[in-house]
């Protein structure tokens, strides 16, 4: 389940649920994840359609980034007008 909380923001993954098909998944997501006004748009994706990285590969995939702080652009001041990045 992916929910867009308001215009201008992207859809964010919020969780998973069971449903017999896509239409009912939207309805279930509406009931489970937007009952406190969390969203204005819902995407649903079948879990089968997701290709996931393997936990066994965490080291080669992610560890090399740990010691490369220079990749974080923390040196820039972002003007307010830019908004969400």
């Amino acid at each position: 389940m992916f929910i867009r909380s308001r215009n201008g923001l992207s859809h964010k993954h919020v969780g998973s649920l069971h449903a017999p098909d896509a239409d009912m998944a939207i309805k279930n997501a509406r009931d489970v994840y937007t009952r406190r006004s969390e969203g204005i748009s819902i995407w649903v994706v079948e879990s089968e359609a997701i290709t996931a990285s393997s936990p066994d590969e965490n080291e080669p995939l992610f560890a090399p980034a740990d010691d490369k702080v220079y990749r974080h652009p923390t040196f820039y001041d972002i003007p307010d007008e830019v908004g969400h990045m």
Binding site: H18, D21, M24, K27, N28, D31
Partner: protein, 250 residues
């Protein structure tokens, strides 16, 4: 005080209150988490609508009355809901089927109430219609999936439909109160509503591969205060706390 308007307000409000109370019995007992939450949401929508209508009814009755007094200190014969909403929930198919039959009625009812000459009822309808539209979509989707699902779900849905059919006639019955409210532009003409309901129900049942039962003898009496044995149990659970401790507060 317009006795007919009060009566009319209570009929709408009691449908919402009793159905909301019935559906809340599913809380924690739904077949899966998603449907447990869905039904609890719907139950709360009905309770919310009931509150607005009970407040309005209490205002009509006078200074001594509150929404809580209307809900908790009226007995069986003072309730004006249609019988179908007080029936036991039964299994999932029966609850869904009752929702489908009632939600479809309720959708057309509130749609018509949007043009009521009574400002308060009109405002309540404007607020409720969004919820009620969703209820009608939701239960229709479920009926299609149960009817056109497995052999077992089809059979259970058909049994539920056959069992509930005799309770649908009352929804469209009109008496002197209805006639008076319609003549004042306040109430809803149920003759037209019944046509819309029939078209929609037939359309969904066809998609659900379910067979519409023959119209035969229909149960009635709820709108005049003559109820089934089930309402007493609903009220006993709903009212026992405020009746034991009338001044109790959260």
């Amino acid at each position: 005080m317009d006795q007919n308007l009060l009566e009319y307000t209570l009929r709408i409000g009691d449908n919402a209150l009793i159905l909301g109370q019935r559906l809340s019995e599913w809380c924690g007992h739904g077949p899966i988490l998603e449907q447990d939450i869905a039904l609890s949401n719907i139950a709360l929508d009905h309770i919310g609508q009931a509150r607005m209508l009970m407040q309005y009814a209490a205002e009509q009755k006078g200074a001594d009355f509150t929404e809580d007094k209307m809900a908790f200190f009226r007995d069986i014969w003072e309730y004006r809901n249609a019988l179908i909403v007080e029936l036991e929930n039964g299994d999932w198919a029966k609850t869904i089927c009752r929702q489908f039959l009632f939600d479809t009625y309720n959708y057309y009812f509130y749609t018509a109430l949007l043009s009521s000459a009574d400002e308060r009822l009109k405002e309540i309808a404007q607020k409720a219609i969004k919820e009620v539209s969703y209820h009608a979509q939701w239960s229709a989707e479920w009926i299609i999936r149960l009817g056109d699902g497995t052999e077992e779900s089809h059979q259970k849905a058909q049994n539920a439909l056959n069992e509930l059919w005799e309770w649908t006639g009352e929804l469209f019955e009109m008496d002197a109160v209805d006639e008076d409210m319609i003549s004042k532009g306040i109430g809803v003409d149920l003759t037209q509503l019944k046509k819309d309901w029939n078209v929609k129900v037939d359309q969904i049942l066809e998609m659900a591969t379910l067979k519409r039962p023959e119209d035969a003898w229909m149960q009635s009496g709820g709108k005049q205060g003559e109820h089934t044995e089930y309402l007493g149990y609903v009220l006993a659970e709903m009212q026992h706390l405020p009746r034991m401790y009338p001044e109790a507060n959260w």
